[in-house]
Amino acid sequence: MQVPLSEVLTLSSVALLVSTFGVVVRRGFAGWLSAYRYQSVVLAGSTAVIAYATGLWEIYAAAILTLVVKAIVIPRLLVRVTESVKDEFKIEANPYVSIRLSLLISALLVALSYGVIHETLISANLDVYALTYLPVSVSLFFIGLFVMVSRRMALNQVVGLLIIENGLFLFTTALTQGVSLIIEVGILADILVGVMISALLLLRMSQTFDSFDMVSLESLKDD
Amino acid sequence: MTLFTTGADSLKVVAIGALQVVAVFAFAPLLTGIMRKVKARTQKRIGASVFQPYYEISKLWSKDEVVSDYSSWVFRSAPWVVALATITAALFIPVFVPFSPFSAAGDVLLVIGLLALARFFTMLAGIDAASAFGGIGTSREMMISSLVEPGLFLTIFVVSLTLGGTDLTSLVGAAARSGVVIAPSMLFGLISFFIIILAETGRLPFDNPATHLELTMVHEAMVLEYSGRSLALIEWSQSTKQLVLLALLANLFLPLGMPTSIDVGLLPLGLGALAVLAKVALISVLVAYVETRVAKWRLFRVPDLLTVAIASAMVGMIFFYL
């Protein structure tokens, strides 16, 4: 069964975007963690498609790594570390931007990134993978940034960071298909460690200050 | 003109210059005596003889000196510095003859500088004896002198613009050649210079030379601690300064009867000297008369009068340029 490449690519990019919206729409820690798992699986799948199309084994390895680390290791890690954190810190009760509005803004950001990429890179000679995945990756980047901006709870901002990382990973893979495995491993390790550290810090913060609310944390500012 | 001109002329020139200074030094107390006599007469008193200052100087000359043990060598040396500076200044000014042989070494700015040096040391002497009177005199003199300087400089400016340069021999020569200059700039300069002279020589309304009340004395306060020969030197230098400044006024602004150069022979020179003497005597009579007409001004009104002098010279300068 020969599925045309372009349709596969379109499908995967749509799946990525939908999964991102899925993350944005969740209110709770548990919710977005599962959405994130889903997104990572889709991401691994897209990477596998690129790998299949180009035939480079490194990208296969990258896909497997992505699957393992992002879909399995990181969620497990996060769950374990934040076990003792109280539930009220995990539910985004009062975000700066309401969930519905964030969804609309995310859609706008997607449009923006598509527009920007097409305008700027219209002259560059890009292959079909880059053309499909670059706009997606830029929108992932912006949506992740936006999620970090709009969440009030410190823990929920970690998801924004992870989405950004996903976007960057996709960006590099799509643009330079022969990306060195080492770099990819490096980026992943960096993210892993980063997540661990932020989770630990958040744990400590909740223990010391008893609050993850950004507004009360703001009083720590040196005035 | 350099210090040593050609041949025997140079000796004649230097001799005349030296003689001039000796004459200045000798006649100065007479001028003070004349002024006092005039003041006395206008006040319906007989007054002392015009030679009284000479008697006072010789009296002081042979008296003991009492020196305060709070004071230092500055106090002891000040009268000598004052005398030295004043006589040296007199050397550069053409008083009785229309030239000074030392013009190549210094001009009117040097004269002002030397007189300022004398004043500097007098002011220091006032503080040195650690008496409150000295401090009074010095602080008042500080204020007055700081305002007299710009007036003096501006008057020199006006004169130098009109008569050319700051070299006193050429200035006096130019004045003699052009006669009395009835130009607005010179007239304003004359007014300013007259006021400045009143301030510099310590006459009313700036300072009363005959008083020893702390309310009214400026110069007297600074030299209050002096006695004997030092006091004689100071008084004599003060009179010398007075004569020299009045002669400058006469020679620059009212140069009638002054020969235009030195090579005119002894008789015209002698006549010129007498003319200067007469003019200076007349001006001192005028000064004395002015003194009897005004009272001593309150100290803080004195800057107003000095500002009048400065403004007058400023107007003179503007008139010259426009």
Partner: protein, 689 residues
Amino acid sequence: MNFLPMLLPAIVALFIAGALLPLAFRDPRREAVASFVPAAASSLLTVALSASVLLSGSALRLSSPVVEAIPSMSLSFYVDGIGAFFMLIIGLVSTSVSIYSLGYSGAYSGKHSIRALGSLLNLFVLSMILVTATNNVFSFLLFWELMSLASFLLVVYEHEKETNLRSGITYLVMTHIGTALITAAFLVLYFQTGSLSFDSFRSAAGQLSSFTKGLVFVLALAGFGTKAGLVPMHIWLPEAHPSAPSNVSALMSGVMLKVGIYGLVRVTLGFVVPSSPGDAWMGLLMVVTGSFSALVGVLYASVEHDIKRALAYHSVENIGIIVLGLGLSVVFMSFGLQSLAALALLASMYHSLNHAVFKGLLFMGAGSVLMRTGTADMNRMGGLVKKMPWTALFFLVGSIAIAGLPPLNGFVSEWLTMQALLSSYQVPNVVLQLSIGFASIAFALTLGLASATFVKLFGISFLSRPRSKAAEEAIEAPKSMLAGMTLAGSLCVVLGVLPFVATSAVASAFGFDIGLVSSYAPFGPLTVGYAANGLRSVSSLSMPQVLVITGAVGAALLGFVTVVGPGRKTVTRRYTTWEGGFGALDERTEYTATSLSQPIRSAFRSFFRPHTSVKREYYSDSNHLIKRSVSVTSETREVFEDHLYSPALRAVVAVLDRVRRLQTGRINSYLLYIMVATISLLLLVVLQP
């Protein structure tokens, strides 16, 4: 001389040795010797270097590329006449100060680190010398900044006093404002010529548009004026100079200010060459700023009772006089009056040299007094002329010099400046003539006030009776300090009596014919010609002849006094001062510094705006007739600080407070800023045609 090229590296090496050696020792005396002896030696070498450049009339060029790839970053040195002249100033003063510091550092032993003082001083002097020797913008700014930082560290040397820290910060801020303006000026020149080297600036001088010239000039005047202490950028001077140790104050006041003047001279005469009447406004601006500066400086000096603050304000005054002369020179140059331009430039540069020497001397004297009495407040001094006779003598020499009285050096440069002012009738523009006339009023007022102030400074500090225990118990300063002061004092005398030394140095430095202003003979007079309206005359001043004449008069006077002796043998009795019969005088009846300057403060009250506040304390609130204490405070405030800087600072702080709201402390807002910035940039790229 073929060891000439080795002098500059030798100087650098010696100073660096002086900076590093004291770090090796532990004993304060050895530290002092290890730092100040190399400094003195190196300063002497500097004098030698500058003298040889001036005497030979040829410039010295050295270069040591730091980074080969970037030619503008090389350290290229070019010691021409102008640089050599200022190097001479630096060398002379720092020699005296280094010798002086050997003894002065004893005041700090045990309390502060002498190593720091010594090494910073070496770095400071070295950076100043190198500033005058550099030839491109990079090295100039490098050494300029080094100079500012070294002096800042020295200003806050006694950091336990809160006021010192505050003055240090003020100084740091002001000097950086100045540096920013200077950099801007150099950048304008760079954009015009495309190179950072001074040589290219010099060669491009003729082709600059008058707008560029004006812009560069104004920026340079403001920037270098800040370093030199021109009003209104002077506010750091009266704070920083008194806070620093006295040997540093001597260097800052005597030498660092001149480095600012060097920059101004370099830019104005070398890069922005005034050559047409359209450039005369630059000179006029300098004349006005200079005379205003002089007047403001001396007025504030006259009411100060802290001896170092008064001296600092006097530096403001003298810099004003220097800039006034420089401005006159520019005005004359614009009209092509070469001999008058030479005269004014000679006056200005001579005064720079003089001021460096006598201000250094005065600060050294103040330092000795401070060291021995522990106070800089004149109202607590007195009678020191008997306890510290040599210091008093040197301070008197310095006072007579700065008051511009003959026969010392101040009189000569003042004579030259006055002659330059009087020669302004030759400028064919009435507005300029009148403005210069008004500037002369300010100048004369300055001179009058200056001698009054120094009567107060010398009189209250040294004469009359001691006003405090510390003054009573003072002793003479150590010999090394006296040696340093002797050097500076003798320079004052030499420069006054033999003007030939300085005039030929200046003429050689700036490349004009000495015959325009002075005769070629060593004992010859300074001459200025007058020619207008059919009148011709030559004003001349010959200090050696004046000295001879004075000597003759003195001899005659002595002879007269001896011959016409008193009729009887007189005795000089010593007794107390006359006190009106009240009995022994207390030292509280003497005049104080404040009371001595009270008539001046009152006469100029519209400038000073003194206010007096009276505070009364009562024993009980119901009865106001019986007072416990009455205290009267009378103060004059600095008008520039109140009306210029404080409002400006308040406005800046208010604006910054609003900007502060952007710093919310919340990570969300910071990320929002990043996001907005990124999106905007992308849109910018996209929407750009």
